[in-house]
């Protein structure tokens, strides 16, 4: 939502109707951001396209569906801007991205947490570094192709396309950030967006969706971390017996709830599969146990952001989502000091520290994001 507050014209005889505002469209080279830019332009805004160069040494071509950092993506974004008839530039954000997203990603894993880099990129790059620069340069807002609804009421809601909904990775944004953001795709399904891209003659209409982490080129997150953190062998311990049941080459490579790739030396006494229950960087230990031990019914989180209303004075009944594309469960959320605590009405497995908890209020016009925080334990 963008507030249309403009200084009154100095000379009343030359009143020029302001149909829109100056907006900066972040164009990844994908279909969503291209259509979002098109819609902003069609709505009468003065749109400038910007492709963010995030990789220090960009690959020439996309491999599979990964990445948004290749030269090919940059060219695709430029072509989309050409078709839309809007100015287009490339902004070099590689240094910031490295520090705020990639290094943070590695540090979080090293600390035994499971970060969400897309969320961090929104929080620190797209709606911070880019938005701040845009505002300084005279733009009123940033437009992106995220699938989420942001109405005139200033509330952030889930996309109508629940399968593509990205409100979870936007839940970290503050009201201030949201007040200078536009998400023109929230009322459309991905299928509709692709059809519209075709109708508009955008060559990216059929481009595959991007998946995974854009800066892990081959999708091998464990290898990526091992390269940066080195091998630090340690024990895999059974939570029930306290016995060492295997070895790992770096606790950072594990995520709570993970089952595959544990390479345990001996099976569990009961013969049932074991999962990662916790990671303890201090002792470089990975603790494993049965599925039911994964179940969590209380979540502590820190650094909360309240965007759906004021900071709640009393516990709130709502729904919470604990990871991207994760299930949604009913919960009671209460403010505790400078953090929050969520009592989950049904236990959830695989809750990892470092991920976000996003609280929603169910609403027929799209579930409303109340706020978010970073899961601590």
């Amino acid at each position: 939502m963008v507030t249309l507050v403009r200084a009154p014209p100095r000379c009343p005889t030359v009143v020029k109707k302001v149909v829109g505002v100056r907006v900066l469209a972040a164009m990844s080279g994908g279909v969503d951001s291209a259509v979002a830019a098109a819609r902003a332009a069609e709505a009468g805004h003065d749109v400038t396209g910007v492709h963010l160069a995030l990789a220090r040494n960009p690959q020439t071509y996309r491999t599979g569906a990964r990445g948004c950092c290749t030269l090919e993506d940059s060219r695709d974004a430029r072509r989309a801007a050409d078709v839309l008839g809007i100015p287009f530039y490339v902004w070099d954000m590689a240094e910031r991205f490295q520090a705020d997203v990639v290094d943070d990603f590695v540090a979080e894993y090293a600390a035994g947490r499971t970060p969400n880099p897309c969320l961090r990129c929104n929080e620190k790059i797209k709606f911070a570094a880019v938005l701040d620069r845009a505002v300084a340069l005279g733009f009123d807002a940033v437009v992106t192709g995220h699938h989420a609804r942001l109405g005139a009421d200033g509330l952030l809601r889930r996309s109508v396309d629940l399968a593509k909904d990205q409100s979870y990775v936007l839940g970290v944004l503050t009201r201030e950030q949201l007040s200078r953001s536009m998400f023109p795709l929230g009322d459309s399904t991905k299928t509709q967006v692709r059809a519209e891209a075709t109708r508009r003659g955008l060559a990216v209409a059929d481009k595959p969706d991007s998946h995974d982490i854009c800066f892990v080129a081959d999708g091998d997150t464990r290898g990526f971390l091992a390269q940066r953190l080195g091998a630090t062998p340690g024990d895999v311990v059974d939570a029930g017996t306290g016995e060492v049941v295997g070895q790992h080459t770096g606790a950072y490579a594990y995520t709570v709830g993970q089952r595959r790739g544990l390479h345990l030396d001996r099976p569990a006494v009961d013969g049932r599969p074991r999962y990662v229950l916790s990671i303890t960087p201090k002792t470089n230990t990975v603790t494993v146990g049965p599925a039911e031990a994964l179940a969590v019914s209380q979540v502590q989180a820190e650094r909360p952001v309240w965007i759906g209303g004021p900071r709640p004075a009393a516990p709130v009944e709502c729904e919470v989502q604990l990871r991207a594309h994760g299930n949604v469960v009913p919960a009671t959320v209460a403010v505790t000091g400078d953090g929050l605590r969520a009592e989950l009405h049904q236990p959830v497995r695989g809750v990892a520290a470092g991920q976000a908890i996003v609280a929603y209020r169910p609403d027929p016009a799209g579930d409303i994001v109340l706020g978010s925080a970073t899961i601590a334990a």
Binding site: R78, W91, D92, R96, A136, L137
Partner: protein, 391 residues
């Protein structure tokens, strides 16, 4: 619109455009033996004579190419290969730290792929290569040098080099010197024979001709190994069907630009001086880069402290003013200019630079438009720049 980016490309001269269209209507491969072929060949040879006459060269010394980058590559690689093959100890290339990428990257390629050793001549704070440095370099190991390549004038900061003096030093040691004169021809007096260089690059679209056509002027006693093999056109040095219309238009443009060079330079330099003075008035902290005296008439290159050049470019572009940050990589990300870094600027100053270049269509109104838009743009860009600084 204010077009202040003539060093990137300048509008075609009407005479060149007319010559292009007229010639492009004619059929005939200049290598064909029939009447139509002879007619095309005649146009090419007349153009060669025009180019030669305008540049103080002989017609046989003019090799038409597909433009500046090709001419630079042909000169740097071709002379290196030819020289090394007759004298295998000559494996060294001497160049300057401020060359255009067409030379810089060709030299780097020779180093990476052909094992060439490279001496990069440093420049002073004004971007000048000095004959003393070249002399010192050659005194050490002239018998190992295959080729020297150093530009006539800087595409970025506009500094004009002492090419004749450099060529004289090269000649003392019997080493061929190539110069990229793309920015110089039509802007300053360029005479191939009088300069003493062995090879000179010139291109069409910087002087009112079409893009994609240029020439390498190559002294007859300098051997060059071809880059392109095929039909043996252009003395067997550059194969490929001749672009008759492009060559004709290029020659007409070059001849016209050279003929009018003095009055052009006087007019454009006066306009440029006005631009410089008014930019300094509007933005007192602005720093003019390059040689204040020996510089291209149309070039004004500034650093705007606290700003990033790409932010200024975006803001001025939104006001219809076209200028350049001077260098860009293939992804369009502005890199700090190697030229400014070589001149001793730090990375922040290098990033803060913006180039305004005037040309044959430039008007005082375009300068007015720049001055009208610049203070606000600098103000905004400085705000954006402070975000980076305070991070």
């Amino acid at each position: 619109m204010a077009y202040l980016d003539h060093a990137a490309t300048t509008p075609m001269l009407d005479v060149a455009l007319e010559a292009y269209v007229a010639t492009a209507r004619e059929v005939g491969n200049a290598s064909a033996l029939h009447g139509a072929g002879r007619q095309a060949r005649r146009r090419v040879e007349e153009s060669r004579e025009r180019v030669a006459a305008a540049l103080g060269a002989r017609p046989a010394e003019v090799i038409f190419t597909g433009g500046g980058t090709e001419s630079d590559n042909l000169a740097v690689k071709g002379i290196f290969w030819a020289r090394r093959s007759t004298e295998p100890r000559r494996t060294r290339v001497v160049s300057s730290a401020v060359e255009h990428h067409a030379v810089l990257d060709a030299v780097d390629w020779l180093a990476a792929q052909e094992g060439a050793e490279v001496s990069w001549l440093p420049v002073d704070a004004l971007g000048r290569v000095t004959p003393q440095r070249l002399r010192a370099e050659l005194a050490a190991a002239a018998d190992q040098v295959a080729v020297i390549t150093t530009m006539w004038a800087s595409n970025e900061v506009g500094t004009v080099q002492p090419v004749a003096e450099l060529a004289a030093v090269a000649a003392e040691h019997g080493v061929p010197l190539h110069t990229d004169a793309i920015q110089a021809v039509g802007q300053v007096a360029v005479d191939f024979a009088a300069s003493g260089v062995s090879a000179l690059t010139v291109t069409g679209h910087k002087l009112g001709g079409p893009a994609g056509v240029g020439a390498l002027v190559l002294a007859r006693d300098v051997a060059v190994t071809p880059l392109l093999h095929g039909g043996g056109q252009e003395r067997d040095v550059r194969s490929g069907t001749l672009d008759t219309a492009g060559i004709v238009a290029f020659a007409v443009a070059l001849e016209t630009a050279v003929r009018h060079q003095r009055e052009y330079a006087a007019r454009v330099a006066a306009l440029r001086d006005d631009l410089v003075a008014r930019v300094r008035q509007a933005v007192p902290e602005a720093v003019l880069n390059g040689d204040p005296n020996d510089r291209l008439p149309g070039n004004a290159h500034f650093s705007f402290p606290g700003c990033e050049g790409d932010a200024l470019l975006l803001l001025l572009d939104a006001r219809g003013i076209a200028c350049s940050t001077g260098s860009a990589c293939s992804a369009g990300v502005a890199q700090p200019s190697h030229v400014l870094l070589a001149m001793g600027a730090d990375s922040a100053r290098a990033r803060s630079s913006l180039r305004f270049t005037l040309g044959h269509t430039s008007t005082p109104e375009e300068v007015d438009a720049l001055i009208a838009a610049l203070p606000e743009a600098v103000d905004r860009a400085r705000r954006a720049g402070s975000l980076r600084a305070t991070r």
